[in-house]
């Protein structure tokens, strides 16, 4: 296709026109005109102007405080002058002479800032990036399994003294087992109830004495009475006072305190520690005669009864009772001599029921 000059020129002109149409606003845009400031005004009359000026004058006048007194200049303070002491009375230090600085033989260097580059910091030990494979640091395997570490802190280790192989031998009125012992370590609570007061003693009413039948008068002149009748009559009239209570001891009775003293003297020697369980269920009653000094006559000591066990267990309990009487009666039991007739024969009941294991 051949282009003539006219066609080319027309194309250029049309192209330039289109470029001007598209980019003309951007390339040849006019500068923005600055905005003109506008102030609003209003019209006032003369009277209104006078009122405004009067109000402004009143507003700027200073306020006057009617109650405050006017400030006054303070009076000048009295001049205080110190007493002058005579110079001779004060010792003044001597004026020290200035030291003479010795001159150096040689010219001294003038310190100047160093211009040298500071030395590099000394290398220090640091952790290597790679671990060291030390075969000698391998932990040894334990023979037993190591317990896991607990998150709970361990209690303080309290060193306990070594326990003896056997429980200590000691006398006791009751047996305390290892299990009971741990329970008894617990703090004891106070009692929750108190014992009731003792009951009032019963009043014994006096028994009225029986009236004795009137004695018939004996006629003076009686028939022939044989000796047998006389004896029978005498028997019937014999005073029976001593035989009225044949079981009563002839001497004064033992007080409860005296009986308790005897009981304590025997029971402290009544050792049940080496008895069988069967014998511990057996109660025996023994009889023994005492001398006037309170010592038992061991040849008179016999078992007069038993209860609650076999014959063999009663025999063992009797041996223990005999041992107790012999041991603690060796020097004589504590008994009142004036009541010997009361305690010269004893009947002792050894009842281990309260000592038996339950």
């Amino acid at each position: 296709m051949d282009w003539d000059r006219g066609t080319i020129g027309s194309a250029l002109l049309h192209g330039g026109f289109f470029v001007w149409v598209i980019l003309g606003d951007w390339l040849f845009a006019p500068q923005a005109v600055p905005e003109i400031p506008v102030s609003e005004v209003s019209l006032l009359s003369e009277a209104e102007f006078d009122n405004l000026t009067a109000a402004s004058a009143a507003a700027v006048s200073p306020p006057v405080a009617a109650s405050d007194p006017p400030p006054q200049r303070p009076a000048p303070a009295e001049e205080v002058t110190p007493d002058v002491l005579p110079e001779a009375e004060l010792a003044q230090p001597d004026i020290a002479p200035l030291p003479d600085a010795p001159l150096a033989d040689e010219a001294q260097p003038i310190p100047v800032p160093s211009t040298e580059v500071p030395a590099a910091p000394r290398p220090i030990d640091r952790v290597e990036d790679t671990p060291v494979d030390d075969t000698n640091d391998t932990p040894e395997l334990a023979d037993t399994v190591t317990p896991e570490v607990s998150e709970q802190p361990a209690e303080d280790v309290v060193e306990t003294p070594p326990e003896p192989a056997a429980s200590p031998e000691e006398a006791a009125t009751q047996i305390v087992t290892e299990a009971v012992e741990t329970e008894q370590d617990a703090p004891q609570l106070p009692p929750t109830a108190s014992r009731p007061p003792p009951g009032r003693p019963k009043v014994v009413e006096p028994v009225p004495p029986e009236e004795e039948p009137p004695v018939e008068p004996v006629p003076e002149e009686t028939a022939q009475v044989d000796v047998t009748d006389a004896l029978n009559e005498a028997l019937a009239d014999t005073p029976t006072e001593p035989a009225s209570d044949p079981t009563a001891p002839p001497g004064p009775p033992m007080t409860s305190g005296e009986q308790d003293a005897l009981r304590v003297a025997i029971k402290k020697c009544w050792n049940l520690g080496a008895l069988s369980s069967e014998a511990m269920r057996t109660t025996v009653t023994v009889s023994v005669f005492l001398g006037q000094d309170g010592t038992p006559d061991l040849s008179s000591l016999v078992m007069i009864g038993s209860e609650g066990g076999t014959e063999a267990s009663a025999e063992k309990m009797f041996e223990v009772a005999r041992r107790a009487i012999a041991r603690c009666g060796k020097a004589g039991f504590p008994l009142p001599p004036e009541k010997y007739e009361t305690w010269k024969e004893l009947e002792l009941v050894f009842d281990p029921d309260g000592m038996r294991l339950r």
Binding site: V145, S167, T247, L275, S276
Partner: protein, 440 residues
């Protein structure tokens, strides 16, 4: 006549007044209802060497003293306190000298030897009563059995003083342990009751548990893991020969114990995840099931008369002790306290049951009457278990293990009163003791 009457009346009155009132009066009656419980002091001077006894005389008297003192019921008075010496077996006893040192019992004896035989004779005296307890007695044996002879003398002395049989001439079979705790080696061993004369009955190639003596002491039952599973075995104490009892595939048997006549074995059998109690006739091999419950029931023990069996079961939800007839039937629960009860063992006397109790983090060895009343806990520790009765039913031996890695198992004994808790010296960690009957 009047005079006669007056004279007769006066005479009778005087006669009445002069009658000894004490012949008619009741003696003073005192009730002693409390005493003391303490070891009884006694003395055992060295037995007299009557010729050929050598060192046996002194050794025998020392073993006797060790036996008596070891019960906790007696306290020996040492020879340094003696006032008089026993120079002759037949010499009269100076009671006052022994009373002065408060020896309440005195044991004298003599030993003579000739050839391969020694003879031990002894007497026991009640010092304060001034009388002999029983009559003199003697034993004869070989010099190698001198310890047994000493134990027999101690048994006789114990019996004469306490009124019950002794337990010194007896043996104990137990499990001797060795090695680390996570790889424990166990083997059967037997010893005298006091830890002397230890002998091993098996090697430690297989785990063994719960040995039990027969009523006559000639056989031993035990549980072994030789096959990988627990099975009960019977051993002859004479030649140590072993044979398995009731070995069935797919079952585990354990916790065996002889019947009082020694002809049957009661044990636990696990089949299909359920454990019940069975008996086995040793002669015929006949098996009988006694319980049939989904619960775990184990630890059976015959009563001494063989009519009942005590065992443990969790059929109530917790481990408790039950008693049933020896032929089976509905059991009766006897333990009623707090905690869990196990390993019940019937006393040789038949009146009590020993057991292990776990309560509030502590283990106890305890005893109770067969009806469950009068429960009494004798011990308390980190781990106490497996009680075994002494032949006289007075002492219980059991296993005690301490806490932690250092807590080794050891054998302990305790009196049924809870007194005299002491450790039995063995040659290493030990567990599962079982007492034999008194040796013949």
């Amino acid at each position: 006549m009047r005079l006669i009457q007056i004279f007769a009346r006066a005479a009778l009155t005087a006669l009445t007044l002069m009658t000894p009132a004490t012949l008619l009066a009741e003696p003073l009656r005192i009730v002693i209802d409390s005493g003391v419980i303490e070891p009884m002091p006694y003395a055992v001077p060295n037995f007299i060497d009557e010729g050929g006894a050598g060192e046996y005389a002194a050794n025998i008297s020392r073993v006797i003293a060790s036996d008596l003192t070891g019960t906790g019921l007696f306290r020996e008075i040492g020879p340094e306190a003696f006032i008089s010496q026993v120079t002759s077996f037949g010499a009269p006893v100076a009671y006052s000298d022994w009373q002065a040192i408060n020896a309440q019992a005195l044991v004298t004896g003599a030993v003579s030897g000739s050839g391969d035989q020694i003879v031990v004779k002894f007497r026991v005296y009640d010092v304060f009563s001034g009388a002999e307890l029983g009559e003199g007695m003697q034993f004869a044996g070989t010099p190698g059995s001198w310890r047994r002879m000493a134990h027999k003398v101690a048994d006789a002395v114990y019996s004469r003083i306490t009124g019950e049989g002794g337990y010194f001439d007896s043996r104990v079979v137990y499990v001797a342990e060795s090695g680390p705790k996570n790889a424990r080696l166990k083997q059967l061993a037997v010893m005298d009751y006091d830890g002397a004369n230890i002998q091993y009955l098996t090697d430690n190639s297989a785990l063994v548990l719960a040995p039990r003596f027969s009523p006559t002491g000639d056989r031993i039952l035990f549980t072994s893991y030789a096959t990988g599973f627990p099975q009960i075995y019977l051993m002859s104490a004479a030649d140590l020969s072993i044979r398995a009892l009731d070995q069935q595939d797919g079952t585990m048997t354990f916790a065996p114990r002889f019947s009082p006549d020694g002809n049957r074995v009661v044990f636990s059998l696990e089949r299909g995840g359920n454990t019940d109690i069975y008996t086995l006739d040793i002669g015929s091999g006949a098996l009988s099931q006694l319980t049939d419950s989904p619960a775990i029931e184990t630890g059976p023990s015959y009563s001494p008369d063989g009519s009942q069996i005590v065992f443990e079961s969790d059929r109530s939800g917790t481990q408790q002790i039950y008693i049933m007839s020896a032929g089976g039937g509905e059991p009766v629960r006897v333990s009623n306290g707090n905690g869990r009860y196990g390993t019940p063992v019937w006393s040789p006397r038949g009146d009590m049951i020993a057991f292990t109790k776990q309560n509030e983090g502590r283990f106890h060895i305890g005893v109770m009457l067969v009806d469950g009343l009068e429960e009494r806990l004798l011990t308390s520790s980190f781990l106490d278990e497996g009680p075994s009765w002494a032949p006289n039913g007075r002492v219980i031996m059991f296993t005690r293990q301490g806490a932690g890695e250092g807590g080794e198992a050891a054998l302990f004994s305790v009196d049924i009163s809870g007194r005299n808790l002491r450790q039995i010296t063995t040659d290493g960690p030990s567990s599962d003791p079982a007492w034999s009957p008194l040796l013949p």
